[in-house]
Symmetry: C2
Subunit: 317 residues, 2 copies
């Protein structure tokens, strides 16, 4: 069995949700994508319990590379590095004195990154996860996740619509969520060395635990379920938009920022590498073809409107 069996009711409910969402998204993508570009990869963690199912599209008709990954893992804290990392993490939740030596953890989530071929269709990232740490007398749990867009050219109508869907999904639970999560997304996906944001934002949250588990499960369900209706319109609108080598150069150049963010800053990548996670799954997020130039003048296209909104995030609604 690749997916770890959840130790709690909430673990079960979350795992059911991410499995269903993975199936729904893959079925939807398979309705328009080349079936030969698709494969599913079930993996288990060596020396650990649990694993995941990665659904990949590579060299398709729409996606250059896309991954829809779910995982369900459990274990105890073994190395000192692992313990130090989790204590640091628990300090964010005011539990820095937790005894990790006799605790177990369980985590499940879905993680999606799509890098389309057509430069007019944005790259999209989505991730929803549930974490549980259990000692003899205490259980600590939290939810995290988000969804955000990295366009290469701006279709402001569809971007506004993308944010509307996310806002609607958040509003169902609490009207204060969207503005809060939107700001958190802008702050998180920031490359200080470029003084640029990774894309045009979306929502981002982590360490959610102050309300009930059911409340947050409803939140990630609401957000996860709006993914297709928020993203598919970009594919519908632009899958046949003509593009040239110059558009692709610009796309590949901007994708370099995606790699820089993920390798230099992304918490998920750091976490994965520090806990000896599965490399293929961690780096699933990296675009296929990427370009770094010393001399930006060699690019014939510079989409200045994009540069403006990634320098200072705007309110899309």
């Amino acid at each position: 069995m690749s997916l770890a069996k959840p130790p709690s009711n909430m673990g079960h409910s979350m795992l059911d949700f991410v499995r269903d969402l993975q199936t729904t998204i893959c079925d939807s993508f398979l309705s328009f994508e080349n079936k030969n570009a698709f494969f599913s990869d079930t993996w288990t963690r060596p020396h650990h319990s649990g694993g995941g199912i990665s659904c990949i599209f590579e060299d398709g008709s729409i996606f250059e590379k896309a991954g829809i990954n779910i995982s369900s893992i459990e274990g105890s804290f073994q190395s000192d590095t692992e313990k130090a990392m989790f204590l640091n993490l628990l300090s964010q939740l005011n539990h820095s004195t937790f005894d990790l030596d006799h605790a177990t953890y369980f985590a499940t989530g879905i993680s999606l990154v799509c890098h389309p071929i057509n430069p007019f269709i944005p790259t999209v990232h989505m991730n929803y996860r549930y974490f549980e740490i259990q000692s003899s007398d205490t259980t600590i749990w939290w939810f995290g996740g988000g969804c955000d867009l990295t366009p290469y050219f701006l279709d402001t109508t569809l971007i506004t619509q993308f944010h509307s869907y996310l806002k609607l999904a958040c509003d169902c639970l609490d009207r204060s969520y969207y503005p809060h999560f939107k700001d958190a997304c802008d702050s998180y996906f920031f490359l200080p060395h470029r003084n640029e944001h990774r894309g045009i934002g979306g929502i981002f949250f982590d360490y959610l635990q102050s309300n009930t588990q059911t409340h947050y499960l409803d939140l990630v369900k609401s957000c996860g379920s709006t993914f297709l209706e928020s993203y598919l319109p970009f594919i519908d609108a632009h899958k046949n938009t003509p593009f040239t080598h110059d558009h692709t150069q610009w796309q590949q150049y901007r994708r370099g920022r995606y790699v820089e963010f993920n390798l230099l800053h992304d918490r998920g990548t750091k976490f994965g590498l520090q806990t000896n996670g599965r490399i293929e799954s961690i780096f699933m997020s990296l675009p296929k073809h990427v370009l770094w130039t010393y001399n930006e003048d060699l690019l014939t296209i510079h989409h200045l409107d994009l540069l403006e909104v990634i320098k200072s995030p705007k309110c899309w609604l």
Copy 2:
């Protein structure tokens, strides 16, 4: 004036050396490379003293991207991050109690990375640098540097010759250097998450200070001066070696490891980003076209001999 004026005789001598070496290498490259692919970029550090001269080849006949960069910078330690970083560095030199509040630094060096178009010509990296920290009563100085090769296909004859030249250059100063620096190179250029070395090694050293300044200047001169004779044979031998799209795919895929190393592990990159260094110069080292695949089976070429030597470094001499 872009290059900072050295505060010491050794600083002057080192700067003279790196300027001369840059000129020699650029002249040599220009003798066979497309002149339109070359440009020279003189820059100064905003809010700081000093700068550099970057000589770049991009989209040439031999080099997809190559940079030969020199810099000469000076200043005082301003931010707490900067001070903490340097104190950490000074602890390597047994000077962890140094008073950085009233100190100034000077650094000069040459840094070269060449990413050729032909996958049968290896990527090469070379860097020699001199550092000086001065307080009212003490001067701390050290030398660092090295040269190493990242092939995509193995030409064992030329690789052995490359190592011979480096050994010879080191032997002129001390016969214990090459084996020591070769091991240090293998240890340093290692990607733990891939369990792979970046390439087939070369030499690497840092914090050299136990002998005289003149001794180490002679060492970096000896090593730097052997660069062309150690690397040009790869270009001569393989500039006309036929290659296909499949060879290039393999090259671009392996280049991904180069990016991973430089963004995740390279001290120079970390140092540059943490000290608000010049992004174009720091990322000059990144290859132009890079590829990440989830499914390695999509690559039709897997050069297994290469994978073997980067898993466990061998002795080339």
